[in-house]
Amino acid sequence: MLDALKAIIRTLYIIALMGFTLWYGYFLYPVIFGTTEVETEEDFASQEIEAFFGEGTTEEEKEFMKSLKQQQRISTTDLGYMVIEEQYVKGHFHHVGMKVETDDNSICTRCHGAVPHDKAKTIRAFLNMHAFYMACETCHVRPEDDEQEWEFRWYDKATGKVVANPPGLNTLDESMYGNYSAKISPGGIKQDGSFKFINGPKELAFVERYLKEEGRLDDTQKSKMKKVIHRNVNEDPLICDGCHTISDEPYLPFTLLGYPQRRLHELTSTEVVGMINKYQEFYIPNLLRGGGVDKDVETE
């Protein structure tokens, strides 16, 4: 009995000592001997740059890695009654108040990015706003005269699959406008009655394979492949009044896509259409009308 008690005390003593050692190492050591240096975003970036590119990296490479770091950074603001999580954007003043889902299923954003419009200075922000919830193909790929009109569906930005009309379309909360986690994209009905987007997983796989193997191709081959990828792209994209019109048949079937009458009214209101008309009259560059580079188009 006494031996068992002794053994228990001894075991407890050893466990306590081990615990103390761990506690000491984890908590007290940094208090007494300090911590590592403050590592800034730039420090992290420069470490990764060296690991990735080796020594002697260019400014562009450094900028690239810094951008990658920034992209991963989430800004969290605790308001007490709610916590705002949003992507950190250096120098941005107003709070966005949401995280933006990336579109993992667009074949276009692989190269052109999620903010693709930058040439037409006066309207690029508007065009990018539409790119937030409309696939590039919606405006840039239109049916030929001998083809059937496209059908339009929403696809989930994460999965690429057709999804039901987003509930956000019906909300009265204007802060939800445009933030649907889904995009409108054109497609057609197959013989078996199912719907297929004009660019789906097959086309996406092709583009990814091309990007992977691009380095092995010479300039002529690259040019050929790019033509293949862009074979459906129209020189004249759809412009604003195709949808923002007071006519009964806008290019996009808003009602079928789930837009309630209230939203439809907003999109085709005098206020919006009037502004669009003003834009069309003065600011739509010839580039978008298929007329070559306009003087309004400033390359950045």
Binding site: L17, M18, V31, G34, E37, Y81, V115, E271, M275, Y283
Partner: protein, 393 residues
């Protein structure tokens, strides 16, 4: 109006027959319950609408700027691409410090659409709201002036790299007033006292929130250290500006206490811009200027400020290094307040060497003692096992 609302809320349409059915059949008794339901629904709808959707936007900027994705890339000051997000979250904006301002108060020259005439936001301009203390137009002009004259002002930059300097947005975003639900409840009790004299509840609530917010700690010590450290711990940037790299703060007792969550301990601003001694974060001065709170002349008074080391003696502030180095030659060469970076100070180097040796001694001692203890225990356990086997054998 009615039609638009009903079409927007589809399921409700189905429960109420169109009014012309009732009129055509001349059966108000049949339609009465439905009409009553519609009236109740209309009543509820008005009160259930989110505040944001009925908030006024007299310039109608949000017609476009409420749309997420409105944005572009532009060239920044150093020719790098800068993301410009032109979306404004109305709810968060209305609840923010600037929520009462019209967009044009800050974004001047946006009369044309598209905004080809937009001017860069200047925090020193007049906001077109009245400062209740003076009845004049409110402006951050004085603070902007202070910043320009401070160590962070363009006038202090000798190498021309002004893009490294922090501007207003570097430290300040347009945060909503912080409040927890319980704090909010408590605040509302106090607000009732204000409302006994001040008639406008909206005004009083906002004023109260403002005072409440300004009187509380807005940024934790950890956040302050992280913010300052983004530049002052950046070796390349500090070298460009001929400044010390602050790498040792986390090794000080202040730094360690902050790391372990002590909210009362001094952060960068408590020493470099102590409010209670009349300094402001917007007018931080170089430690080499005699008026700086961390100059050799004033350092002791800064240590002695209320709530800190009130009994500190002269040697307390002058004998040691406030930001110790991590014992690298580069850092050792720029420790002394009066020394220029890059100028080695023999005394300082000797002190650093002594500190380094003491640290090394204690680290070795701890490893030997704790390691020896662990070794002793392991050997002891083995001995017990061996004795047990011998006894059993």
């Amino acid at each position: 109006m009615e039609l638009i609302i009903f079409r927007g809320v589809r399921n409700i349409v189905d429960i109420a027959p169109p009014s012309d059915v009732c009129l055509r059949n001349n059966r108000p008794d049949v339609c009465a319950p439905y009409l009553l339901g519609v009236l109740i629904f209309m009543f509820l709808l008005v009160f259930l609408l989110p505040a944001a959707s009925v908030a006024s936007d007299d310039e109608n900027c949000l017609m476009c700027h409420k749309m997420p994705g409105l944005g572009r890339y532009a060239k920044g000051e150093n020719q790098n691409a800068v993301k410009r997000i032109l979306y404004v979250n109305e709810e968060l904006f209305k609840a923010s410090y600037h929520g009462r301002l019209r967009c044009k108060s800050c974004h001047q020259g946006v009369d044309e659409i598209p905004h080809t005439d937009a001017e860069k936001v200047d925090c020193a301009s007049d906001c077109h709201i009245q400062d209740p203390s003076s009845n004049s137009e409110f402006s951050h002009r004085a603070i902007v002036h202070d910043l320009s004259m401070s160590a962070h002002g363009a006038k202090q930059v000798k190498n021309g790299q002004v893009e490294d300097l922090p501007n207003c947005k570097y430290c300040h975003s347009n945060k909503p007033y912080q409040r927890s639900d319980t704090d909010h409840q408590e605040s509302m009790k106090f607000l009732n006292i204000c409302l006994q004299c001040h008639e406008s509840k909206e005004w009083a609530e906002r004023f109260f929130k403002h005072i409440n917010y300004r009187a509380s700690t807005r940024r934790s010590s950890k956040q302050v250290v992280e913010l300052c450290g983004q530049c002052h711990a950046d070796r390349v940037m500090m070298d460009n500006h001929d400044l010390d790299v602050v790498v040792g703060f986390n090794d000080t007792f202040h730094g360690k206490a902050i790391r372990y969550g002590d909210a009362e301990v001094a952060n960068c601003l408590n020493c470099h811009a102590p409010y209670q001694s009349g300094f402001s974060p917007h007018s931080i001065l170089s430690q080499r200027q005699s008026t700086s709170p961390v100059s050799n002349e004033n350092k002791i008074e800064t240590c002695r400020q209320s709530g800190c080391h009130t009994e500190a003696k002269e040697e307390f502030a002058t004998s040691g290094k406030i930001h110790p180095s991590s014992f690298t030659t580069v850092q050792m060469m720029s420790r002394n307040t009066l020394n220029r970076p890059g100028e080695a100070d023999p005394d300082s180097e000797f002190q650093e060497w002594v500190l380094h040796m003491i640290s090394l001694f204690y680290k070795t001692l701890i490893i030997v003692v704790v390691g020896g203890l662990a070794l002793h225990q392991i050997l002891d356990l083995l001995a017990i096992r061996r004795e047990r086997k011998l006894r059993e054998g």
